[in-house]
């Protein structure tokens, strides 16, 4: 590389400071990492106007395609485009191989754990995981006890959140085992990216992800009830007001299956049917994007109209497969999270390939005392909350907030966990007309049918606010395309 482009790249840097957090593009010395050199080169060579033009055309593509998510609680303009950053995030094949093996191991173990807890509960009898932690979890479903699920697969669609620490190592922040979303953004980001940087994309040799819908479909088909060789597979959505509705329609369309709402379904004699213009048609597999609580008013919340009455009994009778299974939220409970390394060792007799973030459990006396003494350095999370709510971020908290949380923790230690404040990695983003680093995470999507499949890549979420650590789309997060290199 000549010195010209590097100098021009330097001009592109806005407030691009390197500190102890891992920078995806640059070495601590400021040098561009090897994998990123071609990207940096392209950026340096592109005239500023051309870069802005590509950015605008990418944004327009999102708007006209209606790639939006719904923001709750506002009357007009409730649809927003998912913010998008123009620059891809690159992952080397070496790093990816590690992630892939680690996630395969982790999901295998978590699935075995769910199967065990809902049948013989050996892990509880062997006192590896405390019994009360499982039974006090609000996502534990006693209705699932002793129920045989097809192929013993409880979690067929998973999206785990990974972070990269300052030593470059990936760790798991949380496992989403209920209804993980975002995969449509992964797919549409890629489509837009291919149009925006076609030559760069080609020269990098990026591994494809476009076959995800097909893999999902064959995963679902592999879980069909016995004796249904041509299963009728549907995607169950809570409806047009759900924030992920775009994704539901997108996936249904890509798979060529019907998108149904609870009101389209009826059950009769423990068989689920959907209402069609040709009368009732039997349903065999339901890819469920409705939470447990709302799925069947006869079994779960009786005030819900999003689900279908009688669904659970049909499921119990084995006449319909519902996936993910009910009660899988147990295994992504934030308190149980701390036990995942032990769960992996117990079932697989292996050391975890991808580690957890260090987590303190507050119902253990010694750990609680340590945490309460160091509240100003730690992050406290309520186990039942998600999306960045119900948190105390120690270094940014006031004495009063810390006092409040001490009281809350002492009243109900089971409800909280503590983790060190993390300096997770940052990747360059195009902010205005300059490059600036922003914190990113990575959510790969894992499918589990007759075997585990992970498409190379995932959704890289970006905290677009300067200095922010929150990547959730509801709180100012955006996304990037993720390129896993050959």
């Amino acid at each position: 590389m000549s010195s010209g482009p590097v100098a021009e790249l330097r001009e592109l840097y806005g407030d691009y400071r390197l500190d102890h957090a891992y920078d995806e593009m640059r070495e601590p010395s400021g040098e561009v990492r090897e994998a990123y050199r071609a990207l940096a080169d392209t950026l340096a060579r592109l005239p500023q106007e051309e870069l802005q033009r590509r950015k605008q055309s990418a944004e327009l593509a999102f708007l006209t395609q209606g790639i939006t998510f719904t923001v709750y609680g506002r009357d007009e303009g409730t649809e927003k485009i998912f913010p998008y950053d123009l620059l891809p995030r690159l992952i080397t094949s070496h790093d990816w191989e590690q992630v892939e093996r680690g996630l395969t191991q982790r999901i295998t173990a978590l699935n075995l754990f769910l199967r065990d807890v809902y049948s013989e509960a050996k892990i509880l009898n062997d006192q590896i995981v405390p019994r009360e932690l499982v039974y006090s979890c609000k996502h534990y479903r006693r209705q699932m006890r002793g129920l045989q699920v097809p192929r013993n697969v409880y979690i067929s669609v998973v999206g785990s959140d990974l972070l990269r620490l300052n030593n470059g190592e990936f760790v798991v922040l949380e496992d989403n085992l209920r209804v993980p979303s975002g995969v449509s953004y992964m797919l549409t980001n890629r489509r837009v990216m291919k149009r925006t940087f076609p030559q760069l994309f080609h020269s990098y040799g990026v591994r494809p992800i476009e076959h995800y819908p097909q893999l999902l479909l064959s995963t679902l088909r592999s879980l069909a009830p016995e004796g249904r060789p041509e299963p009728n597979i549907v995607l169950l959505t809570p409806g047009v007001f759900n924030s992920a509705y775009f994704e539901h329609t997108y996936l249904a369309r890509q798979m060529g299956i019907d998108l149904v709402e609870g009101r389209d379904l009826v059950t009769h004699d423990n068989i689920v049917y959907m209402r069609t213009t040709d009368g009732l048609k039997r349903v065999d597999v339901i890819y469920r994007r409705v939470d447990d609580d709302f799925s069947d008013p006869l079994i779960f919340r009786s005030d819900s109209i999003l689900g279908c009455s009688g669904l659970f009994n049909a499921y119990r009778a084995g006449n319909v497969t519902v996936t993910n299974a009910f009660g899988t939220g147990l295994a992504d409970d934030k308190a149980l999270y701390a036990y995942v390394p032990r769960i992996i060792r117990y079932y697989l007799d292996e050391d975890p390939i991808i580690n957890n973030v260090e987590t303190f459990l507050l119902n253990e006396d010694k750990e609680r005392q340590h945490v309460l003494a160091n509240l100003d350095k730690l992050v406290i999370k309520a186990v039942g909350e998600s999306g960045g709510y119900g948190m105390l971020i120690g270094p940014h908290s006031t004495a009063k907030q810390r006092e409040e949380f001490t009281a809350r923790i002492e009243a109900n230690p089971r409800n909280y966990i503590a983790q060190p404040t993390l300096d997770f990695s940052r990747a360059p983003c195009l902010i205005g007309d300059r490059l600036e680093p922003r914190h990113v995470d990575l959510r790969p999507y894992i499918l589990y049918g007759d075997k585990i499949n992970i498409v190379p890549g995932g959704l890289t979420r970006v905290a677009l606010e300067k200095g922010s650590l929150v990547v959730n789309s509801s709180q100012g997060g955006g996304s990037k395309d993720t390129w896993v290199l050959e």
């Binding site: 708007l63 395609q65 369309r253 019907d258 389209d264 213009t277 040709d278």
Partner: protein, 320 residues
């Protein structure tokens, strides 16, 4: 196909047809009002509202510009063009996976166009251009629907919605015009009357087509004949009813169930009324009642179609 999906396709199509009809009638009324010697603005507006089916809450308020603005852009009025397009898009959004990407993008663009301040500004400065561009966008959507969507049951529900709405709207329009124009004594028609007749034809995009069939010699009887009974013109009632009939037949062919006799009979009756009646019989009899009956039949076809395909009871479906 899911009943809910069929329902949304049907209404998406009906709402767009309704929006298009409103735009076209408004466009014609606005240009007729330019000729000061004709009827008063109030007469024009009242006739326009009547031809749109007298939507509640819309009445002449003394100011043409604000009336037109309201009819096109009022978000709170369900009969406004903007609301029709919103409703069509909302229906489409609920079945996003059933229509083609091209269809969705066209409709989405139209929706954003209606909500952009530019369109309202353009409307204030040049009504014809603004209305024309809305109609263009709707035409594009229809074209894209025909060329990119699979011509299966869903597409037939779209056609059903379009033609049922159209037949109903033209019948309403003719019913409103009928007492003024068709009872005029036999004499040379005046310049204003001529403009009115052209206006009526243009409401149905029929002026050029009429001239091809009858020459530019406009007579109320022939216009009524053309708009009611022409077999080949897409905005004639007979053609639209043929469209409804074909759509229902195709829905039946693509589905597995035998249609209910009532629905077949109802469409057959309407079809026969238009195929085997001559214009003289209609004019010598009670034309108003004839038009009214067409509207009633349209409503009953809608009800029967709904009862059979969309909102059937589970008991009736299980016994089949």
């Amino acid at each position: 196909m899911l009943s809910r999906v069929a329902d949304s396709l049907y209404w998406m199509s009906r709402y767009l047809e309704r929006g298009e009809n409103t735009v076209r009638q408004l466009d014609v009324a606005m240009s007729l009002m330019l000729d000061s010697g004709g009827a008063s603005a109030e007469t024009h507006w009242n006739r326009l509202f009547a031809a749109l089916g007298k939507p509640a809450g819309l009445e002449w308020n003394g100011d043409a510009a604000s009336n037109a603005q309201k009819l096109v852009f009022d978000k709170h009025h369900p009969a406004s063009v903007s609301c029709c397009i919103d409703a069509a898009r909302e229906n489409a959004r609920q079945i996003r996976e059933e229509i083609s990407t091209e269809q969705w993008q066209r409709l989405n663009r139209l929706y954003h166009q209606m909500h952009s301040p530019n369109t309202e500004n353009q409307f204030r400065s040049n009504v014809n251009d603004a209305l024309g561009s809305i109609i263009d966008a709707i035409h594009l959507f229809k074209g894209v629907s025909d060329t990119t969507m699979i011509h299966g049951q869903g597409w037939h529900f779209i056609r059903l919605g379009r033609y049922l709405e159209r037949a109903y709207a033209i019948a309403t329009l003719l019913e409103v015009y009928q007492p003024h124009l068709f009872h005029a004594p036999e004499r040379e028609i005046s310049g204003y009357q001529y403009l009115e007749l052209v206006g009526l034809l243009r409401c149905c995009t029929a002026f050029e087509a009429y001239c091809q069939v009858y020459t530019a010699d406009l007579s109320p009887d022939r216009i009524l004949e053309f708009l009611l009974l022409n077999r080949d013109f897409p905005h004639a009632i007979r053609y639209s009813v043929d469209g409804v009939r074909q759509a229902i037949q195709s829905i039946q062919h693509t589905g597995g169930r035998r249609p209910p006799d009532e629905l077949t009979a109802s469409i057959g009756r309407l079809h026969a009324m238009l195929s085997f009646t001559s214009i003289n019989e209609i004019l010598n009899g009670d034309a108003a009642a004839f038009l009214h009956k067409i509207r009633q039949q349209c409503m009953s076809i809608h009800d029967l179609m709904y009862r059979y395909y969309i909102q059937y009871s589970i008991q009736s479906a299980l016994t089949i």
